[in-house]
């Protein structure tokens, strides 16, 4: 820090001087210090030269930078600044040497030579201190060749330059003026030499480096190879000292290769092998050849491993061996295997057992001495022969079996069999055979070890017999017998021991665990173990000592033991023998005797009853604590006292009297007495018993007294309740019987007596079987049995009165506790009335069923959920389902193709209405369809609908006929018309005379033909019309029309006919709007007018009129014809009816006109009738509803003022229909907006957010489904309720594609506008009012 501050001060100071000089303003800083300069007057004040200042600025700046900065670049800058300063100094020195004026001219500001020298050294010093790594410094002092040359030549060059300068100054003549040029040339030459020299030197250096590198790499590669070899590679000198050891030294021998360096390799060789190794080594050295030797070598962990080494000599240039390379491999495994196999061979040869090798086909390959001894064949005799020579004649297959087992990889162990010796003797042998495998694991042969066991077999049999004998004796002893060895392990355990302990011989023999099982308590067991050890060790005999054992099943038994030790032939103890007897039962009896006394005492002591013993003189001989407690005394205080001493006098006297009685009579006595005790009344129950002495004389009385106050009170209460119960018992309407489990009546009530006509006493002598009718009497035991099981029973039986009258009875029985015993309480209800009713119902049902079952139509009943409850057999015929199947199937009523409409109709019926003539198609069981008609009505009970009954009729046949008829009619209409067309036209042309005139009579005939042809055509038309109208085939195309115009049009049509007949036709019409099919109304009117014309006289008048009557339009066609007889009026409107049958011919009518007219009017909800007076004329009337009426089946709803008008958007391309729909909705305070295209509909929907949209599907610009699709994209409109009103019939899928919010579908042909209004208004009401807050906006 301080160094920086000093350098900074120098920097600032010198900069000030420089600036002052450059700006031309002498700053005169010295004035600050030398105020008194004037005092010295003549003294010249020295000034710093600007060049000095510049040099110092560079030096100080360099110092600042180098001391404050760490960065390489900064320090480099500092070094350059230092160099610059040094250069300035150098230039000044040169100036002095060559003459300043020569260099600088005269205007130069002088710098002292000494200052320049100082500056020079300062600059160099600063440069050096900036750091040796900076290039300006490195150039001079660095390690590069450049720097070295520079260091060598630069001082010399500078010295020459300076010398030349000095020569020049002193004026050596042969050097002259070009000194400067010469020195520059010298400098240049120097630089060139340095550059070339360094280039050459670098190239030579690189070559040397490359050679070194190649050498190093090759060595590295070699080292890597030896390092990675598994074998140990080592190099030794001729004395065996290790010079190199590869890393595998560590893995194979456990020594670090480094540690081996300098050690003798011989020192680790096994001493036994060392001589051999050294000998081979010496030979190899002498001959300079390769040596190979195996030897044992000490591993780092001390054991010896077998090594195999190959030594190769390393020769010097003269071919002298100087070292050896040893390549060594661990062969321990191989050596071990070799040793083992030679050992084995020795064993085999010396074995006593016969060891035989053979091939897999049984040829003997080896035969040891044991085999020679056992079988008698020598090795020479046996080898090469089949092994079967050893088989006894009766076991030919055995060998194959053994070989098979070996082939499968199994081992044959201790297989006992028989073999035949060379001398023919059969011997017992035990065979162990195993497969011989080659190095690939393939089985190449087998080896068998056979041992002669003939002697062993004989011994075993002998021993077996002995053991059996001993066992029989032991087992038949009926005492527990066990024999233990000296460690108390079980050796023998007989059957009795098994039976008593529960442990079998197999479980216990061979160890001593049984003692832990028998004596689970450790301490007890140790005690017993010590005892047994004592017996065994010291020869003591224990007799009669008892132990408690725990049997295997957990029971405790007590055993009495006799035990003594067993000695071997040397008199040494080898175990013990024990005999045990189960004495549990005997012990138990002893213990129980002891216990009973103490138990009895404890009972008395702890009894809550008072127990005492009183002697002849009222003295208390014994008393229990409870008795003493009652008196507030201790037992000791009372004993020996008189009754009178301890009880109040009255009680004592009473007691005393009773005691005396018992003493006297010798009989026990029980009393219930009320005594006053301690201020309370207490009931005491006392039982006194005489006590007899040995001679049978009573000497004392024992007593047990008990406080029974509580019980007495209970009994009183019970008695009271019983009397109450009795009243109830007698006053019920049902007969009540109580009888015991044997059936004897214990109690009956009054009703029972009255109903059956017996007195109570009589009944109490009887049993249920006596009053039940015979067929039920026999079931009494069965009923009792059920009661016992379940506790209660319910049955319907019949009882018989004394007079023999049968009473159907409902019997409810249960088991009760009656006065402490089990009894049966039966309540019998007279169900005569009910039975009668039931019979009546059954009969009626039977009747109904009879009708239903025989009906051709299917009859069914359903519950209100429309589940079938009954179907008649005809259902099976119609639908194919049996009544049983129908119950299992989903309700087939709903298999109808018109499920929904049927469901609606049934729902209507469930509400109490009647649904007649519901037609539909149902599916039969076999999948075919059947046309049915259903008439359904509610089943009422007490005015409430409880179910649905109905008739289902198969109308398939009818439908088929109807369809055939339609086809027929259609065919007739065409086929008849075609020839008629030709006939009519031909006749017309003939009659017109265009083909030539005819005679008058011919002309007349032609006219007749034309008239009748016309009539035939009309008849055909009328039949068709009539047919279509009556079957409803022709839908009315209703629209708004004017009543007056209809009348005028009809009159205009008929005017020519009237004129022809000479009849005047007048019209009187009032006008009003109607909702009707104008063509059809005109047809009806013309029919009526045509009739009127036909039946009017020439010159008659006909008046056609329309007139508004209340809320309908009345039409009238009045004539002055002959009138209709009253008896004909009734059938006038039927088909093919005419007043006079001759009319058909005379008047040319078809007899269908009025029938057609009626159909038309009725389909408009109108009425048609006639009023007529014979001779005066007839008037035909019909009415039609006015437009307003037709469209107003509903009264407009009264709307509250606060309710916002609902807004409906109608998208309908028919403007007339749209207007009508709008008008209808207006009346319900519903605002309607009409658009005629889908596009406008979408746009307006998004703008106004209607509460409901009415949508026609066939729109001029797009299909309605596209409108729906578009609206679904809008989050709000997606859920707007929608009414689709279309001519299309839609299937389910199509409907699904058209849903928005809640959506209704109306087909125009099915739902005419007037119903549309009703349905839409109901729909909106449901959504917006019932739905509560479901307001849309």
């Amino acid at each position: 820090m301080f160094a920086e501050a000093c350098a900074l001060i120098v920097l600032v100071f010198c900069l000030t001087v420089l600036i002052g000089f450059l700006a031309g303003i002498p700053l005169d800083i010295e004035q600050l210090f030398l105020r008194t300069a004037s005092k010295f007057g003549s003294v010249q004040i020295g000034r710093m030269s600007p060049i000095t200042a510049a040099g110092l600025v560079l030096v100080s700046a360099s110092l600042v930078i180098s001391s404050s900065a760490r960065g390489y670049r900064r320090r480099q800058l500092a070094a350059i600044l230092g160099l610059l300063a040094a250069s300035i100094g150098f230039v000044i020195i040169l100036g002095y040497l060559f003459g300043a004026p020569l260099l600088y001219g005269s205007s130069i500001i002088p710098v002292a030579l000494t200052t320049a020298i100082v500056l020079d050294f300062l600059g160099m010093g600063v440069c050096a201190s900036a750091g040796p790594t900076c290039w300006p410094i490195r150039i001079v002092i660095g390690p590069s060749l450049n720097a070295q040359l520079l260091r060598g030549f630069l001082p010399l060059t500078i010295a020459i330059i300076l010398l030349l300068s000095w020569f020049y100054i002193v004026g050596v003549p042969w050097i002259g003026t070009p000194a400067v040029t010469a020195s520059l040339a010298l400098l240049l030459a120097l630089m060139t030499v340095i550059a070339i020299a360094s280039r050459v030197a670098r190239r030579v250096g690189e070559e040397i480096l490359q050679t070194h590198e190649a050498l190093r790499e090759s060595e590295q590669r070699l080292r890597q190879i030896t390092d990675n070899m598994l074998d140990i590679i080592a190099q030794t000198d001729l004395q065996g000292i290790c010079q190199y050891a590869s890393p595998s030294y560590k893995t194979v021998l456990g020594y670090d290769p480094e540690d081996m360096l300098g050690r003798s390799l011989f020192e680790l060789v096994h001493p036994d092998d060392l001589a051999n190794v050294i000998e081979i080594t010496l030979k190899a050295i002498a001959s300079g050849s390769t040596a190979r030797f195996s030897y044992r070598y000490r591993h780092a962990d001390g054991h010896y491993v077998w090594l195999d080494s190959v030594g190769n000599p390393i020769l010097d240039k003269k071919g002298q061996m100087v070292a050896a390379v040893l390549s060594t491999r661990d062969i321990t495994d191989r050596k071990t295997a070799e040793e083992a196999s030679s050992r084995l061979a020795a064993i085999v040869e010396s074995s006593d057992d016969a060891i035989i090798g053979k091939t897999m086909d049984g040829v003997i390959t080896s035969w040891n001495q044991g085999a020679e001894r056992l079988y008698g064949y020598s090795a020479e005799e046996a080898i090469g022969r089949p092994i079967s020579i050893l088989l006894p004649p009766n076991r030919p297959d055995e060998l194959t079996q053994i070989l098979e087992r070996l082939k499968r990889g199994e081992r044959v162990q201790d297989f006992e069999t028989k073999r035949m010796r060379k001398d023919g003797k059969i011997i017992d042998v035990s065979l162990t055979a195993s497969a011989i495998k080659d190095s690939t694991g393939r089985t190449v042969g087998a080896s068998t070890i056979a041992r002669d066991i003939t002697e062993r077999k004989r011994m075993e049999e002998e021993l077996g017999r002995l053991a059996q004998f001993r066992q029989t004796i032991i087992d038949n002893a009926n005492v527990w017998l066990d024999v233990l060895d000296e460690k108390a392990n079980v050796v023998i355990w007989n059957k009795a021991a098994e039976a008593i302990s529960g442990y079998s011989r197999e479980e216990v023999v061979g160890h001593g665990k049984v003692w832990e099982w028998l004596y689970p308590d450790e301490e007890y067991r140790r005690h017993l173990t010590d005892l047994v050890a004592d017996v065994i060790q010291h020869g003591r005999v224990e007799e009669g000592f008892e132990t408690r054992i725990r049997r295997k099943d957990g029971q405790t038994r007590i055993i009495s033991w006799n035990e003594r030790n067993l000695l071997n032939e040397h008199g040494k103890a080898i175990g013990s023998i024990a005999l045990g007897r189960d004495i549990t039962e005997r012990k138990q009896i002893e213990v129980e005797l002891q216990l009973s006394e103490s138990k009895y005492r404890s009972l008395v002591e702890n009894a809550t009853d008072l127990i005492f013993l009183i002697g002849e003189k009222d003295e208390i001989m014994s008393v229990n604590p409870a008795a003493a407690r009652l008196l507030g005394r201790t037992v000791e205080e009372i004993l020996g006292k008189s009754l009178f001493d301890v009880y109040p006098k009255e009680i004592a006297a009473m007691f005393s009297e009773n005691v005396r009685e018992v003493l006297k009579t010798g009989k026990s006595k029980i009393t219930d007495e009320k005594v006053a005790f301690g201020g309370n009344e207490v009931w005491i129950n006392t039982r006194l018993e005489p006590l007899l002495d040995d001679r049978g004389v009573v000497y004392a009385v024992s007593g047990v007294a008990r406080n029974i106050t509580e019980r007495k009170l209970m009994e009183d209460a019970l008695r009271e309740s019983e009397s109450r119960y009795r009243t109830l018992f007698d006053s019920t309407n049902d007969a009540i019987f109580i009888h015991d489990m044997g059936g004897k009546f214990l109690e009956v009530n009054k009703v029972a007596c009255e109903r059956l006509g017996y007195s109570r006493e009589e009944l109490l002598q009887m049993t249920p079987a006596d009053i039940d009718s015979p067929e039920y009497a026999v079931t009494v035991p069965q009923r009792l049995e059920e009661l016992r099981k379940v506790g209660h029973s319910f049955s319907e039986i019949a009882q018989v009165t004394r007079d023999g009258i049968m009473i159907p009875t409902e019997l409810s029985s249960r088991i009760i506790d009656y006065k402490g015993t089990e009894a049966v309480l039966s309540v019998a209800r007279d169900i005569t009335q009910r039975k009668r009713l039931e019979a009546a119902v059954r009969e009626s049902e039977e009747r109904f069923r009879g009708i239903a079952e025989r009906s051709v139509d299917a009859i069914f009943t359903m519950d209100l959920e429309t589940h079938l409850t009954y179907v008649s057999p005809a259902m099976e015929r119609i639908l194919g389902y049996t009544p049983e199947e129908i119950e299992l199937k989903p309700n087939p009523m709903f298999l109808s193709r018109f499920r929904t409409s049927l469901a609606e109709q049934l729902a209507k019926v469930a509400r109490g209405e009647i649904a007649d003539g519901v037609q539909g198609v149902m599916l039969r069981k076999d999948g075919s369809s059947v046309h049915v008609e259903i008439n359904a009505s509610p089943i009422l009970s007490d005015g409430k609908v409880v179910g649905i009954q109905g008739i289902l009729r198969d109308i398939t046949e009818r439908k088929k006929i109807e369809s055939m008829k339609d086809q027929f009619v259609s065919m007739v209409s065409h086929e008849l018309r075609t020839p008629l067309t030709s006939i009519r036209a031909s006749l017309g042309l003939l009659a017109s005379g265009v083909t030539g005139t005819l005679p008058e009579k011919g002309q007349r005939m032609l006219e007749i033909a034309v008239t009748n042809t016309d009539r035939l055509v009309r008849l055909i038309n009328d039949i068709l019309d009539s047919e279509r109208l009556t079957t409803g085939k022709t839908p009315m195309e209703k629209k708004e029309c004017s009543a007056a115009r209809l009348v005028t049009q009809a009159a205009d049509v008929m005017k020519p006919m009237a004129e022809k007949a000479g009849i005047s036709l007048s019209v009187e019409s009032q006008d009003a709007s109607l909702w009707a099919d104008p063509d059809r109304i005109i047809q009806a009117l013309t029919n009526l007018i045509s009739n009127a014309i036909k039946f009017s006289q020439k010159g008659g008048k006909i008046c056609v009129a329309s007139e508004r009557k209340e809320n309908q339009m009345l039409f009238r066609v009045q004539d002055e014809g002959r009138g209709i007889p009253p008896d004909k009026i009734g059938m006038l409107f039927e088909r093919f009816q005419q007043v006079d049958s001759s009319d058909a011919r005379e008047r040319g009518g078809s007899g269908l006109g009025l029938s057609i007219s009626r159909s038309i009017i009725e389909q408009h909800n109108g009425r048609i009738w006639v009023e007529s007076t014979v001779g005066k004329g007839s008037t035909f009337f019909f009415t039609l509803p006015l437009l307003q009426e037709a469209l107003a089946p509903l009264q407009p709803e009264a709307t509250t003022g606060t309710q916002r008008a609902r807004r409906v958007l109608i998208i309908e391309d028919d403007p007339d229909l749209a207007k009508i729909l709008a008008a209808m909705l207006e009346r319900h305070n519903i605002q309607s907006h009409i658009v005629l295209t889908g596009g406008k509909g979408i746009a307006l929907s998004k703008q106004m957010h209607p509460d409901l949209i009415v949508l026609d599907l066939i729109l001029p610009d797009m299909d309605g489904s596209i409108v729906v699709e578009d609206l679904r994209k809008d989050n709000i409109l997606r859920s707007v309720p929608l009414v689709v009103y279309t001519v299309r019939e839609l299937d389910e899928q199509q409907r699904e594609n058209l849903r928005l919010g809640e959506t209704l579908f109306f087909t125009k042909s099915r739902i005419p506008p007037e119903q549309f209004e009703e349905k839409v208004v109901q729909f909106m009401k449901r959504i917006f009012e019932d739905g509560g807050s479901a307001g849309v906006n």
């Binding site: 209409s973 009519r984 036209a985 031909s986 042309l989 017109s992 055509v1017 068709l1024």
Partner: protein, 126 residues
């Protein structure tokens, strides 16, 4: 006024004949006949009649199909067609009207007025 030329297309030869006679003798028009839809179309193309009286029910190409073919062909598109049929239920009339025929004349027809009916429908002066 040049004579009107009418093409009658009907499979019933009797009807063709009486209708032809009626139009020729009563109305004094020139009449062409064809006994099937296809023949009618061919004749219409060739002869370019002033109007066509077309039976609705014919075997093979029926009236409706014949009409559609006539409409589809630019050379016959302009010829007015009147349906000539026994099917005169309102529904049938509407169906024909929807197809685009000028009108429907019912069979049996009155030979005396057939020509004037056609003239009235097509707006021809009689």
């Amino acid at each position: 006024v040049s004579t009107r030329r009418i093409l009658i297309v009907d499979d019933e030869s009797d009807i063709r004949e009486v209708a032809q006679m009626s139009l020729e003798m009563i109305s004094g028009w020139q009449v062409l006949t064809a006994e099937s839809g296809d023949e009618g179309i061919a004749k219409a193309k060739k002869e370019k009649p002033d109007a066509i009286l077309l039976d609705a029910m014919m075997p093979g190409t029926d009236g409706a199909a014949t009409f559609e073919k006539l409409q589809a062909d630019p050379s016959t598109k302009q010829i007015p067609v009147i349906m000539f049929t026994a099917k005169v239920q309102p529904a049938d009339r509407k169906r024909f009207a929807d197809l685009g025929v000028k009108d429907v004349i019912a069979k049996p027809f009155d030979p005396m007025t057939l020509g004037s009916q056609i003239a009235a429908i097509l707006g021809w002066s009689v």
